[in-house]
């Protein structure tokens, strides 16, 4: 029990200085409104548990939007319906804090349906107070998702009908079907006795957050005399006699006795360890090994094309990675758009001694064709004196151009002989490196292990590259 119920809780400001106007003593709530009572129950609990400094209160859109006028805790105001999302991030930013998510029925059950459902489902360690007064208070008495059948509001002037508006939403029942929530109860502010009961539930819900970091949901049936167009007494009677009939009170879920929060702790990382964590540690390439290649002036534009699954994109990535290790300017871009469908793939790669402008390759100096459609599609685009490397084990036609260098290489057959078709692309990598002479073979072979992710595949990829190199060497012998 609070020590002195006649005293304003310490968790309330003495004067409501944030409130505009001259009156800094009274609240913005109408006489008989449920918010005042619930605010008091929450404030007293926060005081009694000694968590005022640790508490952050999320004010929703609705009549309680100005909760920060009253609660002397950390305050944040949320967009309509989004309080559970805001509360999620607050709690995760400061796991030791106590986060109060306070929402009305339109805010929580209509526009914010997704947010409350998912915050509950994630089991955020927050406490939700859901004020159900069956109407939109602040906007002037429109229908709420919880408005009763037959209840007249500004937007259901003849009363809510099943035909037009459907049935009232029962949030406690819905939330209690989820696995993560620890404690779900519906209470009411209908008379002194029910308020005392509500007080217990409020305290228990906050306590579950403090002690167990669990999600609690307290639905509070409350009155809105102004929009019900009733006196405070009559509207409280209505809560007790009518609203309660439609929204049965009680504990819908309580697993607090055995609930243990999953471990949500994080291990902070020192900035010194960040490069390791991000996999961006210094790479050491011996400058002497690449010296003879870095002085050359060149700009090669590759179009690499084939069926999906032939390793077309990774062929481009390997060339690019190796280019980077030679301090070249490099760009890689996958084919983009409709041609990605239908099983064909291509990518554009550029390796250059100077800055690369457009990463798009329209006029390749090197075309790598791993299937026949690639020849059909790209042969004409190859620049004069350029190259076509094509997999002659799969392509049964020969390119027709006479002004370019055409290298037929049975890459798939060579790869099959090595034991796996999958390294046909690396055979072509080897051929390109040998033919163009723009990179150090040793550097490529030594660093391929940094690019191929699977350790057991490194050797076969190396062998495939060497086979490609040898193939070119044998051609020119």
């Amino acid at each position: 029990m609070a020590k002195d119920i006649l005293r304003k809780s310490e968790v309330f400001y003495d004067n409501f200085d944030r409130k505009p106007g001259l009156d800094k003593m009274t609240t913005t709530y109408c006489p008989g409104c449920g918010h005042g009572i619930l605010h008091k129950l929450v404030a007293e609990a926060l005081e009694d548990f000694g968590v005022q400094d640790r508490t952050m209160f999320v004010s929703p859109v609705g009549c309680s939007v100005f909760a920060y006028y009253y609660f002397d805790v950390g305050n944040i105001q949320a967009a309509h319906g989004r309080a559970p999302a805001v509360a999620t991030a607050l709690k995760r930013a400061n796991p030791e804090s106590i986060v109060i998510d306070y929402q009305g029925d339109g805010d929580l059950a209509a526009i914010g349906g997704a947010e409350i459902l998912n915050a509950a489902n994630r089991g955020e360690g927050i406490t939700v107070f859901f004020v159900n007064n069956a109407t939109y208070g602040m906007t002037g008495g429109q229908m709420a998702p919880t408005t009763l059948i037959g209840q007249q509001t500004m937007t259901t002037p003849k009363g809510r009908t099943v035909a037009n508006e459907g049935y009232p939403i029962k949030m406690s029942e819905i939330i209690s079907t989820l696995k993560a929530p620890v404690y779900v109860e519906r209470v009411m502010l209908g008379d002194v006795k029910s308020i005392r009961k509500a007080r217990k539930s409020v305290r228990k819900a906050i306590q579950i957050q403090i002690e167990q970091n669990g999600f609690s949901f307290i639905e509070v049936l409350a009155s809105c005399p102004s929009n019900l167009k009733k006196t405070p007494i009559d509207s409280q009677n209505w809560v007790r006699e009518v609203l309660q009939e439609n929204y049965p009170l009680g504990v819908y879920k309580d697993i607090s006795a055995k609930f243990v929060s999953p471990d949500k702790s994080k291990t902070p990382v020192n900035y010194k360890d960040l490069p390791k964590v991000l996999n961006i540690e210094e790479t050491n390439i011996d400058k002497n090994r690449i010296a003879e290649f870095t002085n050359k002036q060149f700009h090669e534009q590759f179009k690499i094309a084939g069926f999906g699954g032939q390793g077309v994109l990774s062929l481009g990535i390997v060339l690019s990675e190796m280019g980077m290790r030679h301090d070249f300017q490099v760009s890689w871009i996958p084919s983009y758009g409709p041609e990605m469908r239908g099983g064909t793939a291509n990518c554009s790669v550029q390796l250059s001694s100077k800055n690369i402008g457009s990463p798009v390759v329209d006029r390749p100096t090197v075309l790598v064709a791993m299937n026949r459609p690639s020849i059909d599609k790209f042969e004409d685009s190859v620049a004069e004196n350029g190259y076509i490397f094509y997999d002659s084990s799969l392509i049964d036609i020969e390119p027709q151009r006479k002004d370019i260098n055409i290298i037929a290489i049975p890459a798939t057959k060579i790869a099959d002989d090595l034991g796996t078709t999958k390294v046909a692309n690396m055979v072509i990598v080897g051929a390109i490196i040998e033919k163009l002479g723009i990179m150090s073979k040793d550097v490529v072979l030594d660093s391929i292990g940094e690019v191929i992710k699977k350790q057991k595949l490194i050797n076969i990829n190396k062998r495939a590259i060497l086979k490609g190199v040898e193939f070119i060497q044998n051609l020119t012998k």
Binding site: A114, L278, Y336, G357
Partner: protein, 348 residues
Amino acid sequence: MGKQFLKGNEAVVKGAILAGCTAYYGYPITPASEIAHAAAKYLPLAGGTFVQAESEVAAINMVYGAAGAGQRVMTASSGPGISLKTEGISYCAGAELPCVIVSITRGGPGLGNIGPEQSDYNQLVKGGGHGCYKTIVLAPNSVQEMCDFGLMAFDLADKYRTPVIIAADGFIGQMMEPVNFPEPVKVFPAKPWAIKGTKETRKNVISSIELDFDDLERHNIKLQKKYAIIEEQEVRYEEYRTDDAEIILVCYGIASRVVQSAIDNLRAEGIKAGMFRPITLFPFPHERISQLCDKASNFLTVEMSNGQMNDDVRLSVEGKKPVHLLSRYGGNVHTIKEIHAKVIKIMR
């Protein structure tokens, strides 16, 4: 720091983490999803938080909460997702919460497609959401800049207590280039206004509501003053061969990469073309473009939209010189050839 070959979408996450970003809240959408993938992979390793939100709307409101708690926080999305986020961005701007939003623009309107476009310029640069607010908008044109702007965005966001948008397109997000990584940020600005569930921050309130008309007017005037300072101090742009240029091609993002190649070709033929690339779309480099009017006889905006940035170029030129527009849409990037042809046509 090392050098790594990676996608723009991954580089921006690594840059952000080096900048001290400790939280990412997002929702999947192509072509921005790799950002979420990288954040999901690396943030928990770096001691941070990654949550896949239930919606774009929830994600930006989680960003609002995390920023309110003083975290360096980011999210990313594309076209339709950014549309959904604009309400939340307006709240962040109104409550003066620093955060970083990456937009990997795709083809629109509606569901459009997943190709690169620059059709969300107005959405990103002109506010997008409700109310008189602006966001700083950075437009990278390389993977290196995706990383670098990841860092710069957080500094600017904290400096001005404002959301900062990194406006890239599907192409910049998907392409791979080598990146030289900068050193991690070690010193962070104090945020005495944040709420952290502590005694010191108990007095704070994060809100964008001002019921009194005069109070809200004062708040708006304060915001406009902030934007004026940003316009004065944070303009960034790049010029390429503009010194003696007779025609200046104005462009940003992937379009500027293609234009750069086109300029080299035009110069090789003796045509004096130059490129002007706004790096900050807000603040827009109006003044510099105005100065360039003294040199150039023509301007050509090369833009993958219906000329949304071109409106700003025309505002800068103020009718002093002809301003032309070359648009592409639907995921198509301009070719060097068509830019070349357009310039020849104008200059003939």
